[in-house]
């Protein structure tokens, strides 16, 4: 356990070096979120009855999305790991007496986490200073906040577990770019990264909500905004845990398989 904690703090410190990039990122994300909210605001005004989410719910959804983007963005892969596979440096990793799956898991976790750590606070603070329908609301009932935190962490772990599958598949196929782009654009759409899932037509949404992608950012953000409430919260978090276990198991098994057939690339 100590080894993994070391890996975590190592990546974290490494990431915290790039502070200027973070400020630029925060500014970009702030305006991106604002435009996103203005767009849905226009939709809402055009026909309030057709909108599945209220203006307040939309505002907190999009601000949380920008604030925690680096935790959930599906297209963000750890370049270190990909290079390791492509260059053959993976051989060094294999020599170490640690489990490769766990190390990579911790590595991608800390990579995402460190980015989010610097970003989420300024974005949410700035967003809460905006006028009424656009502003981010801090004041949610404590119980809702607790469920949000649990769901946020679970969703984050689901994302990391899913990207682990992509790394393992990269090891198996070695020609990953096409597969990756296809998988990633699909994932982004199905996780609610492009439009919030409640905006999908009902007959499609009914199925999409059961997929592992819906257990990523969709669940925590909708719990926070109160769009998922009551007993729905428990089943939503339950579903997140179900997918987390499945993805971890599949990932570990595939990793074993990949390592058995591993071909180290070049020298």
């Amino acid at each position: 356990m100590k080894k993994y904690r070391l890996y975590f703090t190592l990546t974290l410190n490494h990431q915290l070096q790039y502070r200027a990039a973070v400020y630029a990122g925060v500014l970009t994300q702030f305006f991106w979120g604002l435009l996103q909210i203005l767009l849905y605001h226009a939709l809402y005004i055009s026909n309030p009855a057709a909108s599945p989410m209220t203006l307040e719910q939309l505002a907190s959804y999009f601000w949380l999305q920008q604030a925690f983007m680096t935790l959930f963005m599906t297209w963000f892969l750890d370049q270190d790991i990909l290079d390791m596979i492509a260059t053959g440096n993976i051989a060094y990793e294999l020599c170490r007496p640690i489990d490769l799956y766990n190390v990579w898991f911790v590595k991608s976790m800390s990579n995402r986490f460190s980015k989010a750590l610097l970003r989420f606070f300024p974005i949410l603070i700035a967003a809460s200073l905006l006028p009424k329908p656009y502003k981010f609301l801090w004041t949610q009932p404590p119980l809702q906040l607790i469920f949000f935190s649990i769901s946020l962490i679970s969703g984050f772990l689901v994302v990391v577990a899913f990207t682990m599958l992509i790394y393992v598949l990269t090891m198996l196929t070695l020609s990953p770019i096409g597969l990756r782009i296809v998988a990633l654009s699909l994932m982004e759409f199905l996780s609610g990264g492009i439009i919030p899932l409640p905006f999908l037509p009902d007959h499609i949404r009914r199925y999409v909500e059961w997929l592992p992608f819906a257990s990523m950012q969709n669940t925590p953000f909708r719990i926070y905004s109160g769009h998922i409430s009551g007993s729905g919260v428990f089943s939503a978090i339950g579903l997140q845990w179900f997918w987390l276990v499945i993805l971890l198991l599949v990932g570990k098994v595939l990793m074993q398989m990949a390592l058995r057939h591993a071909v180290v690339q070049g020298g």
Binding site: L35, L39, P201
Partner: protein
């Protein structure tokens, strides 16, 4: 120009030497922009209109912007990757060559995989041009083409500014993304729906709305003055200050030394 065509042929054959990888990239680009289209489609299954614009109105706007973006991405990606050109010192080599450095940056990279996006834009355009409530005439077709051209100039202008800013910072400024990628994503819808402030900004500071909202209003017959149809010319002129800014910034250049 001849030299540019030659560089283009070189880039093309380079891209073609990894055919399957290239095709997958094209497919990927297509899928990414398809997801973006699906989002608009699903939104309009729920809402009949946004601030008075119907599905086909928005698609008309969307196709012009997407087309403009994919064309500029194909030809101006040398600017997009300019930070790495600077930090590796490849720019020093460009300065030594005859002809303008601006030309060499243009020619340094071409991203042919944007065809995937272009193809998507063509499909949407086909649907929108037939479906939209526009009485097409020769002048209106010209206006639509101008919208695309104006869009291309807007995006290229933004890329040039992005690259020029690198002379001061060496690193890329992520903030410009909001105008390039953001211009593509949010420019799907006529800028006016984001409110008065956004419209003013994208008219007087960065003239994206001039190749998007105003000519669209003319195409749809909401404004009668043909002058409105010619507003994309403003966006085309926008390229001039961008190039001037580039030239001025070039004087600031210090090699990274590697």
């Amino acid at each position: 120009m001849k030299l540019y065509l030659k560089m283009m042929a070189l880039h093309f054959s380079a891209a073609m030497s990894y055919k399957s990888s290239f095709l997958l990239m094209v497919l990927g680009q297509f899928l990414i922009s398809f997801a973006s289209f699906l989002a608009v489609h699903f939104i309009f299954m729920r809402f009949d209109d946004v601030s008075g614009f119907t599905y086909t109105d928005v698609l008309l706007c969307f196709s012009a912007v997407l087309m403009a973006y994919s064309i500029s991405e194909c030809f101006a990606s040398g600017f997009k990757y300019f930070p790495s050109t600077l930090s590796t010192g490849a720019f020093d080599r460009m300065l030594l060559r005859p002809a303008e450095p601006l030309f060499w940056v243009f020619a340094s990279k071409m991203e042919f995989s944007s065809v995937g996006r272009l193809f998507q834009a063509l499909l949407i355009m086909g649907y929108a041009v037939v479906g939209a409530a526009v009485e097409w005439s020769f002048f209106k077709v010209t206006v639509y083409v101008l919208m695309i051209l104006g869009g291309v100039c807007y995006f290229i202008g933004c890329y040039i500014v992005y690259a020029a800013l690198c002379f001061y910072t060496t690193e890329g400024l992520e903030f410009i993304n909001i105008f390039t990628d953001g211009g593509r994503e949010f420019g799907k819808y006529p800028i006016s729906i984001y409110g008065e402030g956004a419209l003013k900004f994208f008219t007087f500071i960065l003239p994206l709305a001039c190749s998007q909202y105003y000519p669209l209003m003319y195409l749809l017959g909401r404004v009668k003055s043909p002058l409105m149809g010619l507003t994309p010319l403003v966006t085309i002129c926008f390229l001039a200050p961008c190039v001037i800014f580039w030239q001025a910034s070039l004087k600031h250049y210090h090699s990274t030394g590697s």
